[in-house]
């Protein structure tokens, strides 16, 4: 593993955990790395915190950036929201997030 790479663990909706190596020097977000790894994350709005298709539950105790107003607003309109809910598109992959553990939130079917 190179210096600019971290590993994050993403639990999919079937309970399977995927260990994903991710670069930290490309401004990737959790949403983008999930999409690039063919996980079922839609990221409909492209990362503007304007849908909620990338909602994840943060399972590890990494210190993440505070939620912006935009992110709070969007989570207000989302479903299955828990205390540890975040939008994957708002979590940028940084070296200090090595070992981050998240779980994909259910996808609304209606």
């Amino acid at each position: 593993m190179t210096e600019d790479t971290i590993t994050i663990h993403v639990e999919d909706r079937d309970g399977k955990t995927h260990d994903i190596e991710a670069p930290t020097d490309m401004d990737f977000t959790v949403m983008e790395i999930c999409k690039a790894s063919d996980l079922p994350v839609k990221g409909t709005c492209g990362g503007m915190a304007l849908c909620s298709t990338c909602q994840v539950y943060v399972l590890s105790d990494h210190a993440l950036v505070e939620k912006s107003e935009d992110e709070e607003d969007m989570l207000d309109q989302a479903f299955f929201v828990e205390e540890n809910s975040r939008l994957g598109c708002q979590i940028k992959l940084r070296p200090e997030l090595d070992g981050l553990r998240v779980k994909l939130a259910p996808e609304p079917v209606l």
């Binding site: 503007m48 304007l50 207000d76 309109q77 989302a78 479903f79 609304p108 209606l110």
Partner: protein
């Protein structure tokens, strides 16, 4: 029956610009969109966001870009069917298509260009197992006619502007108004938030925060909802005539999926020669299409619309020769 040359499904930036490119070829266009105003996601979701990758605009607000595009196509006098969702598309014997909306408006055109973006915007429905059973039987996802709720008991869920605004408005109309919101804080306009809090203090609105509607009950028609507080303490049952969840809109491919078009991962497959679909006469441009190397950019949508118009011309006027002219040569468009 509305008749036109190119029927454009979706009035976002790509659909609007398609009118311009078609107009240069003297083709008439009519646009259909499920939203009540043109602009698609730019107007509906992010009108105040700056965009930086439109050629010639170092920075432009999404809403302003839509205004400029509308100005640019004005001379071509396109028709609009707004607030209606294109539902079905049937091919006629003469090769043309008839597209019917959910409100029954019929459109006839030899060419259909789908510029549907992410799909049509539909209200977000809370994931309650029996919610579909009560649709139009006590559950409304939008307030169309406030008078419907006069003297009734209603429960509104959501914490945004529309939830706040309707709570305030309906407090004067309905017999009993409850508002349920997931958080203590509201994200709506400050004065609406204050107004709702005042109404709650005056006991004219039953404000329940840090709570969610978790159950729907009723025999054939909605009669009650259960609300669960985050802090626990058991579920609270509220007898009600209506439940109005207001959680914004989200895009769905919707009925387009049944038009016989080749669809891959929620997008319509096209030939990059002219963005034609597998159905001759139907094109797909902008975010709704997919092909190898596809990028969902407004910029790319403009290009796709331009090439689509050329092929559309050949379908509409099979006997005429198409000569390409720069706008610098042809002069002011639409004159």
């Amino acid at each position: 029956m509305i008749e036109t040359d190119i029927l454009i499904i979706g009035a976002g930036p790509t659909g609007i610009f398609a009118v311009f490119e078609a107009g240069l070829l003297k083709l008439r266009c009519h646009l259909v969109d499920s939203l009540p105003q043109p602009g698609g996601q730019l107007t509906e979701i992010y009108p105040k966001k700056p965009i930086y990758d439109i050629p010639g605009y170092p920075e432009v607000l999404a809403g302003d870009l839509v205004d400029s595009l509308m100005e640019q196509i004005k001379a071509f006098k396109p028709g609009f069917t707004l607030g209606e969702r294109a539902e079905s598309c049937e091919r006629q014997e003469d090769g043309s298509f008839i597209v019917t909306t959910n409100k029954g408006t019929k459109h006839k055109a030899p060419v259909v260009a789908i510029a549907g973006g992410l799909g049509s915007f539909e209200p977000r429905k809370p994931p309650l197992s029996n919610i579909l059973d009560y649709e139009d039987k006590g559950i409304d996802y939008m307030v169309k006619d406030p008078e419907k709720y006069r003297g009734k008991r209603i429960v509104i869920a959501g914490g945004g502007d529309s939830a706040l605004d309707w709570t305030i408005y309906l407090a004067d109309v309905a017999d009993q108004v409850s508002m349920v919101h997931r958080r203590k804080k509201f994200r709506g306009a400050l004065d609406s938030v204050e107004k709702v809090e005042q109404l709650a203090d005056a006991q004219r609105v039953n404000l329940i925060t840090e709570a969610e509607v978790k159950g729907l009950h009723g025999d054939g028609r909605l009669e009650a909802v259960t609300v669960e507080k985050k802090s626990g303490g058991g579920a609270l049952q509220i007898d009600t005539d209506y439940f109005i969840p207001l959680f914004g809109l989200s895009p769905k491919l919707g009925p387009l999926a049944d038009w016989g078009l080749e669809v891959e991962k929620g997008a319509i497959k096209v030939d990059t020669l002219d963005y034609s679909t597998n159905v001759p006469g139907i094109f797909a441009i902008g975010d709704i299409n997919t092909y190898e190397g596809k990028l969902k950019l407004i910029l790319c949508g403009f290009h796709e619309a331009t090439l689509m118009a050329q092929s559309a011309y050949r379908i509409i006027h099979p006997d005429k020769k198409l000569s390409f002219k720069y706008t610098t040569v042809a002069g002011k468009p639409g004159t």
